[in-house]
Symmetry: C2
Subunit: 240 residues, 2 copies
Amino acid sequence: MSDDSGMPTPPGHRPRRARPARRPLSADVIVDTGMRVLDAEGLDAVTMRRVAQELGTGPASLYAHVGSKDELYELMHDRAAAQIRLPEPDPARWREQLAEVAFEARRVLASHRDLARVSLGAIPVGPNVLRIAEFQLALLRGAGIPKRIAAMAVDTLAMYVDADVIEGAIFGGGATGPDAERTVHENRIEPIRAYFNALPPDRYPTLVGMVDELVGGTSDERFEFGLDIFLRGIASYAPS
Amino acid sequence: MSDDSGMPTPPGHRPRRARPARRPLSADVIVDTGMRVLDAEGLDAVTMRRVAQELGTGPASLYAHVGSKDELYELMHDRAAAQIRLPEPDPARWREQLAEVAFEARRVLASHRDLARVSLGAIPVGPNVLRIAEFQLALLRGAGIPKRIAAMAVDTLAMYVDADVIEGAIFGGGATGPDAERTVHENRIEPIRAYFNALPPDRYPTLVGMVDELVGGTSDERFEFGLDIFLRGIASYAPS
DNA sequence: TCGTACATACGAACGGTGTTCGTGTCAAGT
DNA sequence: ACTTGACACGAACACCGTTCGTATGTACGA
């Protein structure tokens, strides 16, 4: 990436365009730019106009390479799914490996702000999301889980990961600084605790007696809790 | 509801307004109207302008009663939660009752199109969603489930219901007619099956061998499957 | 009964959105 | 050198959430 800003136009070099040597537009650079905006400002900031502006052009230019905003979102989702690393399959350790993949998928998805909103309720079609599904299905089938159960398990597992990331994204909000956790706690958690504590105890007797447990649990704890229950349940369908 | 359309204005009755005897605007009628639009055309159709138009006024008038569109959405969500019927608590049947509530919540949420998108990732604050939470917590605590586990369980359960309804909403789309199921099958399921069948078997060997199981399972089957696993997992934390 | 004060209603506008159309421009093929 | 076809993009359309200032009807005090 050379930086020619500040250089005057050489004489005789009639600029062939307003922006000389324009970068070739393509679906890839559009998705790239979308990911940059996403990571910096969240999914709602990823608009056609914003991405076009970032590329130094207008929104109409994008539609030659991306069918619609939703299609761009799906391409971004598959791009993110490409970052999910899969271990070498080891059928003997299928439960551990399924948990590994779930954690890894959660980590990657959560690292891209609220991108998970796209994947929840979207039918997996991209090559990378299918790659994950194939891995999980192979693991389950290798463990002797029936087809019907394996199919439902993969669906439910993806749903669980997506939903958890979405829930986590409404807190964090994306600010990942050194004292981000403290700020989040003060600004988000504390008001909720106060609200719950102020609830009428005669109407919600059990709830007000559990405020600490309700607002206190870490997102990681809750994820691991649900994942463990789910995997134990699946294991009950395995032979042996 | 009388119908005075077609009647001329009686002489001497100067209309006090352009729309005589205007109905009083209030948060309640705004939420009512929002629910009507939601049920008819889906959440995306519920815009400030659309609701205002339905009420024969402009969008600015709504802001005297509802703080923002998001607040309207939350009010609508709580209104829907009011329709969830809870059984008489019976601690001895806590597992069955928890399943009952989950099914009932799913039924009600699904009957309002994609309203579930609002509730996923929203902190429960409305009186009606808190009423559900209180019921579930009381049931779990009554069964001897530890506070920490019970808190995570209701969180996860609500998340599961919401995510399932959202996933279901991208199919159905809301069209609930006599032959709706057949149409959905032809227009949505069949293309997906075709796409999966056309996938390269060398890259996705396990997946292409399970197409029927992947696209075939009913939404109800899958929900019951996950719910059963989850409740069995929770039960393992109960004493006895 | 009249005048005033107040809460509500709302027209108009601001700055944004996704998407389409028609035109313009470039580079490769003949 | 000329044609052709793909791509870029300015302008516009029809929406969106939200705010501001003004108009209006009602209730109340004098």
